[in-house]
């Protein structure tokens, strides 16, 4: 396995040279040649089932197209899952202050569409009222005015995830009487979204993240219905990605620019994490609430958190087995 990967990396590096040459050739490309290139993209198969050579060709094709479209050298990486790595995430909800820098950093890193028409954010931070029980309302039984109370109304909702909202616009964070609960793709071990996909364009990678081959997606949106965490977004039109803001370091299964009519979602920043870097949200978090690491390594931060802290997962009763854990000190 190691050998085959090494030889693959070798062929990939020689390929990036050839793709550079290809870029030069592109500058003088005729309309016909461009059309041929797009036809080739249209006819390509499902990425996971391609041979290594076909994968490299597909990436080189995309590099040429993106480089032309965004006016800068764009790379499309294809680094496969690393042996002995299973990516996991842990989030300290006690520390989250609701600043949403993670959501912004994610948009910039992952080339999401932005602007009024189509504003795609993969991370949503739910603001939840801490709520209260009040003495004035302690006798407001249900039904009111009758002697025997069936229920009470002395509470205001507290700690109910479904009462959270993610459009809050405060002057400063953290707000008094608010708790924050960031949500994104949970990278489930048993992902319901993958099960329902009619063309297997979304699938679990061996190192954990659930990814999408944007070129194979037919836009049926079954995965969006099936996701219990509302983690998936759809490109209702061509994404609005300004040239100057486009992040040129991309991965085929990760942050490369998407097209209209396909679904996208968090991939644990596959373009970064497979190169040994942290996801953008982890890097930017000012309070250190976000932790990322290798679940197979007992000494990784994430593994130690799971071992030592009280952790929980969202909607655990659905048996999706998220690799995204919440904890508090």
């Amino acid at each position: 396995m190691v050998n085959s990967r090494r030889s693959f990396l070798k062929s990939a590096s020689s390929l990036s040279v050839s793709s550079l040459l290809g870029t030069a050739a592109l500058m003088t490309m005729s309309d016909d040649a461009q059309a041929n290139m797009e036809w080739a993209e249209w006819f390509q198969g499902n990425y996971r089932l391609m041979s290594e050579e076909e994968k490299a060709q597909a990436r080189a094709r995309l590099e040429r197209r993106y480089t032309r479209e965004y006016g800068k050298k764009v790379t499309v990486d294809g680094t496969p899952a690393q042996e002995g790595v299973l990516m996991g995430y842990a989030l300290n909800i006690k520390k989250c202050i609701g600043c949403r820098r993670c959501a912004k950093a994610c948009v910039e890193e992952n080339n999401q569409s932005r602007g009024k028409d189509q504003d795609i954010e993969w991370i949503r931070v739910l603001k939840m009222e801490k709520g209260e029980f009040s003495q004035e309302k302690m006798n407001q039984g249900y039904p009111e005015g009758l002697g025997i109370q069936v229920g009470g109304n002395a509470y205001t909702p507290a700690g109910v995830v479904l009462e959270g909202e993610h459009y809050y616009q405060p002057e400063a964070v953290p707000e008094k009487d608010a708790a924050y609960m960031p949500i994104a793709c949970m990278q489930c071990e048993k992902p319901p979204c993958v099960k329902v996909c009619p063309v297997r364009t979304t699938y679990r990678e061996a190192d954990g993240p659930v990814v999408i081959d944007y070129n194979w997606c037919i836009g049926c949106r079954m995965c969006m219905s099936a996701c219990p965490y509302w983690a998936r977004r759809f490109n209702w039109s061509d994404p609005n990605l300004p040239k100057e803001a486009m992040n040129p370091v991309t991965h085929y299964l990760g942050n490369r620019p998407r097209m209209k009519g396909v679904v996208e979602k968090c991939t644990f920043c596959i373009q970064r994490t497979r190169q040994g870097r942290y996801p953008a949200c982890v890097e930017v978090c000012p309070t250190g609430a976000r932790k990322f690491g290798n679940l197979l390594d007992p000494n990784s931060e994430v593994s130690r958190i799971i071992a030592r802290k009280n952790v929980f997962r969202l909607k655990a009763e659905l048996n999706t087995f998220p690799k995204f854990f919440y904890f508090m000190d």
Binding site: D117, R124, E163, V196, P198, G219, C220, S225, K260
Partner: protein, 422 residues
């Protein structure tokens, strides 16, 4: 081969000829189809941005019509089943019309799915061999399989019957009867799997209950025959083909049972959900009473319920049920009531609130309405042509062997209408 060619030529020359009223109907449908073409062009050029769909409510009018039309396709079995299993004479004579309706309804389903898809240009990704067909995991893959299979079965059965009638040959029972019996069971499967498409997702608690498949089948067997009765009443007045009263009465009885049971299931759902009133009931609460000031769907729910109850009340009394003016009214009410219940009433509130508790509303845009009307128009165009051809053959107007002079076609219809199967 020569016979087959003659069949095709005779069939086509017959269906394109008609009265001014026929051409006016076709022209009307074509105008609606222009709206569909424009909408399809916009979808292809700019994506689905001109729809009212959002990341929160991402399935709307298109998928709702798809779900409803699968029911209409399945509903055709209410003709075929009594005709071939119980040898009901009145229905047996016109069973092929049910198959024509099934073909048109499935074609409409396919059109709505294409309008719904973000990338219809990549539909080939779903084709076996050149694409990937995610069996056995994906319910959508199963649904495609059963729907296409159902269409082919009805196409084969229906056109085999018509061709044999056309050439005056007896039916080969060994080929024909198994086809019919398989298509009867298959009809149940298409709507069951469509229900599984929705109710196998715990992320959407409003759909996630085992009652959905049977409720789908019951509403299908109410809405389907409602449309069929309306078609039969039109056929009786506009063509020379006579549909027996016994056929219409049996269908009306089927609608009565199925509509009554489906109303009972609605009641069961409301009590089950609202009594405990968990978070899982939020969708139903939103639908019935509105929540957080969002009340767009409330009139749809109560309107649909009122239409279904009114239809049921008319159908319940035999003397009203056999009054065909009242029956037509009941069928219209049941059809519309169920269309709303399965569409805006089931699909949309399934997405409200979102799995993380967000309430948003969905209203179809004008473009969505145009595309929807256009898809229905294509379906009715196909249905009109298929029914006209089938009726022409049943009447003997299209026949391989020309009838001798002096003998009228309606005489022949009387002879030919007695089927070869006994």
């Amino acid at each position: 081969m020569d016979k087959l060619k003659r069949f095709a030529v005779d069939y086509v020359t017959y269906v394109v000829k008609g009265s001014p009223a026929f051409y006016a109907w076709i022209a009307f449908l074509c105008i609606l189809i222009l709206g569909l073409l424009y909408g399809t062009y916009l979808h292809a050029a700019d994506g689905l941005r001109y729809t009212g769909l959002t990341d929160q409510v991402h399935d709307g009018l298109y998928l709702a019509n798809f779900v409803f039309l699968v029911g209409i396709a399945a509903g055709a079995v209410t003709i075929v089943f009594p005709a071939y299993v119980y040898r009901h004479k009145g229905l047996h004579a016109v069973a092929v019309l049910g198959e024509m309706l099934a073909i048109s309804a499935v074609l409409m389903c396919i059109l709505f799915i294409i309008s719904h898809m973000g990338r219809p240009d990549r539909l080939w990704h779903m084709l076996p061999i050149i694409g990937i067909y995610n069996l056995p995991h994906s319910m959508l893959a199963w649904d495609t399989l059963v729907l296409v299979g159902y269409m082919l079965l009805n196409f084969a059965g229906g056109f085999y019957f018509l061709y044999m009638k056309y050439t005056g040959q007896p039916l080969n029972k060994k080929f024909y009867l198994p086809l019919i019996y398989v298509s009867i069971v298959w009809a149940l499967s298409i709507h069951t799997v469509t229900a599984f498409l929705l109710n196998t997702m715990p992320s959407r608690p409003m759909w996630h209950h085992s009652m959905l498949p049977i409720r789908f089948i019951l509403t299908a067997f109410a809405a389907g025959p409602s449309l069929i009765i309306l078609i039969f009443l039109i056929v009786r007045t506009r063509t020379r083909l006579w549909v027996e009263n016994s056929a219409i009465d049996l269908l009306a009885t089927i609608i009565t049972y199925c509509l009554g049971l489906s109303l009972f299931l609605t009641l069961s759902e409301v009590v089950t959900e609202l009594y405990a009133n968990t978070e899982h009931a939020l969708g139903l609460q939103y639908l019935m009473f509105g929540m957080h000031g969002f009340t767009d769907l409330v009139p749809w729910f109560w309107g649909s319920l009122a239409a279904s109850i009114a239809a049921f009340a008319i159908l319940l009394k035999p003397s009203w049920r056999t009054n065909y003016r009242l029956l037509a009214l009941a069928c219209g009410l049941a059809f519309i009531g169920i269309w709303v219940e399965k569409g805006m009433g089931l699909l949309v509130p399934g997405f409200i609130p979102t799995p993380i508790g967000e309430f948003t509303q969905y209203l179809p845009t004008t473009l969505e309405i145009f595309v929807t009307l256009g898809n229905w128009a294509v379906g009715f165009l196909i249905l009109t042509v298929l029914l006209k051809g089938a009726i022409g053959i049943l009447l003997g107007d299209i026949a391989y062997v020309r009838l001798p002079q002096g003998k009228t076609t309606s005489d022949a219809a009387g002879e030919l209408a007695t089927p070869e199967l006994t």
